[in-house]
Symmetry: C2
Subunit: 331 residues, 2 copies
């Protein structure tokens, strides 16, 4: 029985063509040996990040398998985008209670969609029986010295965001089947459902930020919490201008209070938050002309912490600001 | 509560000095950003492997935390040894039911022991609440084209092993508290307990095999099963000479039948199994002179599969040959 199950799993991951999702492959040796071998390009540094998705913590229990597959990889790839890296490959550590063909087929097809969208190849993995646990390690490369870190923001820089805020949190409400506003269009529900399950890592934007942005990360914990990460690592204060926060039309059916809470604290948006020296301001127009939805939402100041201006002057932001781990999504 | 738990975990992993276990660090940017940044040396290829340890599958339930920490990393590093790679760094994806200071301190100290022994730095990780699941991804480097794969064995090559066989399986018996032979010395029990919980990845041997051995891997599934992997990947037959299999003195208290079963099918030994062209035979003496316990245990022939000669001529080896996943260790 054991062998059959493994063959089954190997079959699903092979037929999903996960090993050839990237355009130009850096894979010298892929799945099937003790380890994978990759050839990074000359002059590049290696970027590595590991993410774990656990049922009931990072996604609702019994989430649809295809969406789990997509989300697990997309969330990890977002960390490569946040470092201004290009994808090299990923490994999958999959622990699952049983090898159900139907579940595996759906999971691997969602994973393959995410791999194709990001242009990243599956290079290795490990499958084990146990409570559902999805571990993804992504590898990328970036020209030496050009990784985008959290620590380079300087007073005077502009604070920018690469897309709409709040969609991830609103999407979770839709996914959980919570009570939705009367009159919420079906198209908006669909859009938000996708925004939760199929985040879009901003690889193209991240790569354009190389050598231009002074600091950056992806918004996964919520805008305020992630802004605090940059403020702390850079030793600066970030001032966020509330009225400038970009929001999708899909959020308009909710109260202003709810929308603002999601935009500030929701998390799961996976858009890039970055700081831009004013001298590099001209890039904003070029990025917009290239179809990238970048918005200026504040500025970097001397000091520490995060301030929020909702139109009544800057207020310090204190207390629980974002998503906390060790919390069940259905608490 | 959530934040405190995270700070606690970060504290244990920092005080264990896991970030500076390697001698010369390739880490450009370690823990604390969206991803780690590494600088592989020029002319090197990257080697990547992921391993998951699940309670009740890879180790007995309620295993001692320090030993779990050691074993989780050592088993993963063994894959680097099997590829002839040098360690660059590792990430830890730790899912645990609760953040108990006592457990975390013990786990991180065992992990730190393994990191020091292997000379590998912790470069990143992710900690989540959920059923215990330990995921380790190791990164290494090897001069371009010199990774040791499973597919290069040629008829006429010698089949060699880098250390004793059967200790891992006997060690599991000791760890599980199974009935032990009357008169088994306490020193032998201690030795075998260590051999299960603290495997010794053969990094030094692996690196000496670069450009010399024709194929290789680490014995994790059992000698017969792992020999079959080389035979299959290389398109050859491996003949194993039973009387030549190296065994530690600690196994002498068990019956010959039990010892042989463990040496052939036991797994968990994490010694290297490799094939050596006869023209490279002179290296064996040099390695032995350097303190490496290499043994010739057979040869590579034309054909397919694995044959075993226990003194009565070669017999084909069929059927379940090694450790199977999706099996509880206490079945």
């Amino acid at each position: 029985m054991a062998l059959d199950e493994f063959e089954l799993i190997a079959r699903y991951f092979r037929t999903a063509r996960l090993e050839r999702a990237g355009e130009a492959s850096a894979t010298v040796l892929g799945i099937g040996d003790d380890a994978a071998v990759l050839q990074p390009a000359a002059g590049q540094q290696l970027v590595v990040s590991t993410d774990t998705l656990v049922e009931g913590v990072h996604f609702p229990k019994e989430g649809p398998a295809a969406e789990l597959g997509y989300r697990a990889l997309a969330v990890a790839v977002s960390d490569l985008a946040a470092m201004a890296a290009s994808p090299l490959g990923f490994t999958l550590a999959l622990t699952l209670p049983q090898a159900t063909p139907c579940w595996l087929q759906a999971f691997s097809s969602g994973l393959a969609d995410a791999a194709r969208d990001a242009g990243i190849n599956l290079i290795g993995g490990d499958t084990t029986r146990g409570p559902l646990n999805i571990g993804v390690t992504v590898l990328g490369q970036v020209p030496a010295g050009q990784a985008l870190t959290r620590s380079g923001a300087r007073p005077g820089d502009l604070l920018c965001v690469g897309g709409n805020l709040g969609d991830g949190a609103a999407g979770l409400d839709v996914v959980l089947g919570n009570q939705l506003p009367v009159g919420l269009p079906m198209a908006a529900q669909d859009y938000l459902y996708q925004r939760f399950w199929r985040p879009m890592p901003q690889l193209a934007l991240g790569q354009r930020l190389r050598g231009v942005a002074s600091a950056g990360l992806d918004v996964s914990d919520g805008l305020l919490a992630d802004a605090a990460h940059i403020a702390s690592a850079s030793g600066v204060r970030l001032l966020i201008n509330g009225p400038q926060l970009p929001m999708s039309d899909a959020l308009r059916s909710w109260s202003e209070r709810q929308r603002l809470d999601w935009m500030l604290r929701g998390g799961d948006d996976y858009v890039l938050l970055f700081t831009l020296p004013r001298a590099a301001r001209r890039w904003l127009e070029q990025w917009r002309a290239a179809g990238l939805a970048v918005s200026v939402i504040g500025e970097v100041q001397g000091g520490k912490g995060v301030q929020l201006d909702l139109g009544l002057g800057p207020q310090n932001v204190d207390g629980p600001a974002g998503y906390q781990h060790f919390r069940s999504t259905d608490d």
